[in-house]
């Protein structure tokens, strides 16, 4: 809880009429006013719209109508989620001046649940990065230690929750972009099952991997937000048609009799800090003490996750980002002819990491290389799914570290490949399309937060949150 109030606590008070949404909002805006200058969690603050939304919630309460499950809860929204009438940048120069004419489905659902959006949070440009240093608008600082990165790409959302700017935030997770910053900032972060949450209105990075998910201080808060945003959406063809699992259903159920596997390959992943590996094992021990049956499990193909990911994600990105060409919206740098305009616009509009991935992806899809790169990576993906499915024949959930290390200093990692290694434990879940979440599990010897991941099979959110809640309850005794 880090001394911050819970979203469910705020919502309950507002629903009862004990507190007004307006008052809750002003408290959070005051906190933002004090610390945002240092943290830089937001690209855009939306105080006016937030005040109007809070007033509407209060009016609903006053009229005796249901203000929704998240009534009056301030929420920070990653700036790659479209918001009608509010500029949406994906932290890129190329979207300069662009104001979406529509809301992302998750944004509409937040509003319908009575949540109050306070602003759009900073991210690595187009969600490509693990530190939020790749933003065109400057880095976000980690509220736990402002000399360090908050992780990324959803660093602004993680920092906003950690700093107490909002009890809840939305991020997007393509290879770990929710879970890694959650671990770095000491908050809960969830990557749902692929298709559980509509991607409509999420500015695409890698369409087959992207999922929107919650940040919160507690597992219960994260579950409440998940339950609001999950569910079929006719505007997203990849959105699952079945009713989503209820995340909040079994938070109190304990883990007695559940089978928990510790993923060997991830605990011993490349560059894994021994104390983080050890912490994941202690998490498993704590679950064992609570009645779970714990064992090691092998998911062999997970070791190829990083390589496969850095072919599939850039390949899809190279196509998804083609539309930023200066013709219809966003930045346009004029040229002598249309090709020169394309080149100038994209040269000036995109940052180095985005260009790097566009080039990687373009190459991976090129004639003559497709089979060797993209095709092969998709085969690896199939193997990863198969290996996870085998593991889930014997286990209800899996446990793994979230990151190989704790939050690093701003500017410390300059080599892209070293940066990519941050996602080694989170990427396999994206490739498999399975849900996974990071739960804060104490601090390291450097005093920085450590996260432990709970992984579950597709649509296994109920049991995943159940185990995460149990884990959370043991974190205090570390």
């Amino acid at each position: 809880m880090n001394g911050h109030e819970s979203a469910l606590g705020v919502a309950a008070a507002v629903r009862r009429g004990d507190r007004s949404a307006a008052e809750v909002l002003e408290e959070h805006l005051a906190r933002i006013g004090e610390a945002e200058g240092e943290i830089h969690a937001f690209n855009t603050l939306t105080e006016d719209a937030a005040r109007a939304a809070a007033a509407a919630v209060d009016a609903t309460v006053a009229e005796g109508r249901d203000p929704g499950p998240l009534a009056g809860v301030p929420v920070a929204v990653k700036d790659n989620l479209c918001t009608r009438g509010i500029r949406t940048t994906a932290s890129s120069r190329i979207l300069e001046g662009w104001v979406p004419p529509y809301d992302a489905t998750v944004v509409s659902r937040l509003a319908a649940a009575g949540a109050v959006m306070v602003g759009k949070t900073n991210l690595d440009e187009f969600a490509m990065g693990s530190s939020t240093e790749n933003s065109a608008f400057g880095p976000t600082r980690n509220p736990v230690d402002v000399t360090r990165v908050p992780g990324g790409s959803s660093g602004g959302s993680a920092a906003a929750v950690a700093a107490g700017f909002a009890p809840l935030a939305l991020g997007s997770d393509t290879g770990g972009s929710i879970r890694q910053p959650a671990a770095f900032c000491g908050v809960v972060g969830v990557k749902p099952t692929y298709g559980a949450v509509s991607r409509y209105g999420l500015i695409a990075f890698a369409s087959s991997l992207d999922q929107i998910g919650p940040f919160a201080h507690t597992v219960a808060d994260a579950a409440a937000l998940y339950d609001v945003i999950a569910g079929h959406d006719a505007l997203d063809s990849t959105s699952l048609s079945e009713a989503p699992p209820e995340a909040s259903a079994r938070l109190e159920a304990g883990v007695d009799g559940l089978r928990v596997g510790v993923v060997s390959e991830l605990v011993s992943a490349d560059g894994m800090a021994p104390e983080i590996a050890e912490r994941a094992r202690r998490a498993a021990d704590a679950l064992s003490a609570a009645g779970a049956k714990v064992d090691e499990v092998s998911v062999p193909a997970a070791t190829y996750g990083l390589s496969a990911y850095y072919l599939i994600a850039p390949a899809e990105a190279s196509s998804n980002l083609a539309r930023y060409d200066g013709v219809r919206y966003g930045l346009r740098v004029p040229g002598e002819d249309v090709t020169e305009m394309y080149v100038r616009t994209r040269t000036e509009g995109f940052g180095a990491e985005v260009k790097r991935r566009i080039m990687l992806g373009t190459y991976a899809l090129s004639a003559g290389y497709y089979d060797a790169y993209y095709g092969k990576a998709q085969q690896v993906r199939t193997l990863i799914i198969r290996d996870f499915e085998r593991a889930y024949e014997s286990f209800d959930v899996l446990i793994a570290p979230t990151t190989p290390g704790t939050a690093f200093k701003i500017g410390d990692i300059v080599d892209p490949l070293t940066m990519y290694l941050n996602d080694v434990c989170t990427i396999p879940s994206n490739l498999a399309g399975h849900p996974a979440m990071s739960v804060p599990y104490g601090t390291a010897s450097d005093g920085l937060p450590i996260g432990v991941q709970v992984l579950a099979p597709a649509l296994g959110e109920s049991v995943m949150f159940q185990v995460a809640a149990a884990l959370e309850s043991t974190a205090g005794s570390l």
């Binding site: 409509y200 190279s318 060409d325």
Partner: protein, 486 residues
């Protein structure tokens, strides 16, 4: 047996065979676009039928139009294709009229594969595939001769972006410009009959690209092909192919080679010119579209589409031809079916009237004033045919009544009466013939002896005796049969 020895290299000594495969894009006549709810409508104010999805705004996603799938399957069924589970791919290339800078299309697993189309003369042309894809916007270049290179500026209308298309790819089975035109003509009729497309070439809802090559007659391998684009009518398709064939033959006979390339047909100069060479060909970096799920229509749906198809032109021609005793590719039969007049033949047959007579009247008088057909009363038409068939009206009279019927409607009996066409029965005509013979024995003797030119003499007598109401064709037939009977 082919004599291969006689054929040597050198100008004019080789006989060339033309090989053509066509790629036809047809817009589907759905109410809305392929992946969003915008109207699919031609000729509206530019950029009025657009939304966040078809403009490819960040964060938007495509949702497949069910009716477009239904129409695509109709086309597949009408072309005897295998309708199969399919997926969509992205075809990546930069162009201002393409909002996402990729086109959602089908690639190696299309919805329809491996079919055929039968030309009126009975030749079957293989259909490799008929796949779904979205249309692009329309760019108008100002300056630089209307092409993008050298244009001062360009305007883009995105109304067409996202309109559903089916691309029908033939096998290289066509052997002449004439055959290519017949193929497109037949394909258009099939598309219209299936209800999937309006087939309007002039509005761009049917667009044809041609892959053209030549090879020595008898050669087992294909020559190098060129793809010809920008043909806006059947006429320009034929002209472009003829030009291209001549160009390739002259290249080869001059000792040169044909380069594989895409060529642009210029309607004004009547020539094709290089658009892009094989080296400049784009690498489209196809990969499966991750925003859409595989398309796997249930068997019941496929069956519903196949069973629900109306009769196709080839079947209809066969039916009319059989009823009328004509060849299926005879002009009259082709015309009747092309103009959708065959239900009138059916009505005639049902009423016991001669189908051949019906086809003759339909392919001539009715076809000539096709705009009046919607007002033509079927019973009146059939009744008129009956009068002609029974000899109550001469051919000339029947035609006159029919023209009146087409122009003003009404009852054919009443029209005939008002025009003073007294019904002349077969008996009356026979009596007039006999009277003419009896009154002119000397001439009859010479006619029987073989002087055919006397036919006119007797016809004149019969015409005079019947006041012009005789069926003169029937009269000469009677004269001949009297002569043969001795």
């Amino acid at each position: 047996m082919t004599d291969t020895v006689a054929r040597t290299a050198g100008p004019g000594t080789t006989e060339w065979e033309t090989v053509i495969g066509l790629e036809v894009h047809t817009e589907l006549r759905t109410a809305t676009k392929l992946f969003c709810g915008c109207p699919n409508s031609f000729g509206d104010e530019p950029n009025t039928n657009i939304c966040a999805v078809c403009m490819g705004l960040p964060g938007t996603l495509p949702v497949l139009n069910r009716t477009a799938v239904d129409y695509a399957m109709r086309i597949g069924a009408a072309l005897h294709c295998r309708i199969q589970p399919s997926i969509f791919h992205r075809k990546n290339y930069f162009y201002p009229d393409q909002p996402k800078d990729y086109q959602i299309s089908q690639y190696d697993i299309p919805i329809n594969t491996d079919g055929w189309l039968e030309l009126p003369d009975g030749k079957r042309i293989g259909i490799e595939r008929a796949h779904m894809e979205e249309d692009t916007g329309k760019t108008t270049h100002f300056g630089g001769g209307g092409r993008i290179a050298g244009a001062d500026h360009s305007l883009v209308d995105y109304n067409r972006a996202g309109v559903p298309l089916v691309e029908i790819v033939s096998r290289p089975d066509l052997r002449s410009a004439e055959e290519a035109r017949a193929y497109v003509d037949e394909l258009r009729a099939i598309l219209v009959a299936s209800g999937a497309s309006d087939g309007k070439m002039e509005e761009g809802s049917l667009r044809v690209d041609a892959n053209v090559s030549v090879r020595p007659v008898g050669s087992p391998t294909f020559g190098t092909r060129c793809e010809i684009k920008n043909m806006n009518s059947l006429r320009s398709l034929g002209r472009a192919i003829d030009y291209e064939v001549a160009r390739q033959i002259s290249l080869l006979e001059g000792g040169g080679t044909v380069e594989q390339e895409t060529r642009h047909w210029d309607e004004n100069t009547g020539r094709t010119s290089t658009m892009r060479s094989k080296e400049e060909a784009e690498d489209y970096r196809y990969f499966p579209e991750p925003d859409l799920v595989p398309l796997d229509p249930p068997q019941e749906w496929i069956a519903l589409v196949s069973d629900g198809l109306p009769a196709m032109p080839a079947d209809r021609r066969a039916k009319v031809a059989a009823a009328a005793g004509l060849a299926p590719d005879s002009d009259a039969v082709v015309t009747v079916v092309r103009l959708d007049l065959d239900p009138l033949v059916d009505a005639a047959v049902a009423a016991g009237v001669d189908a051949g007579l019906a086809v003759r009247r339909l392919a001539n008088e009715v076809a000539a004033s096709i705009e009046s057909v919607p007002a033509l009363d079927v019973d009146a038409f059939v009744s008129l045919l009956g009068m002609e068939g029974r000899g109550e009206l001469t051919t000339a009279q029947a035609r006159t009544v029919l023209r009146t019927l087409l122009a003003d409607g009404g009852d054919p009996v009443a029209i005939a009466k008002s025009l003073g066409f007294e019904a002349l029965g077969a008996d009356a005509l026979g009596q007039a013939v006999d009277a003419a013979i009896a009154g002119n024995p000397a001439e009859w003797e010479r006619y029987v002896g073989g002087e055919d030119k006397l036919t006119g003499f007797f016809i004149g007598k019969i015409k005079a005796a019947t006041g012009g109401n005789a069926d003169l064709k029937e009269a000469s037939a009677l004269l001949r049969s009297r002569r043969e009977a001795g």
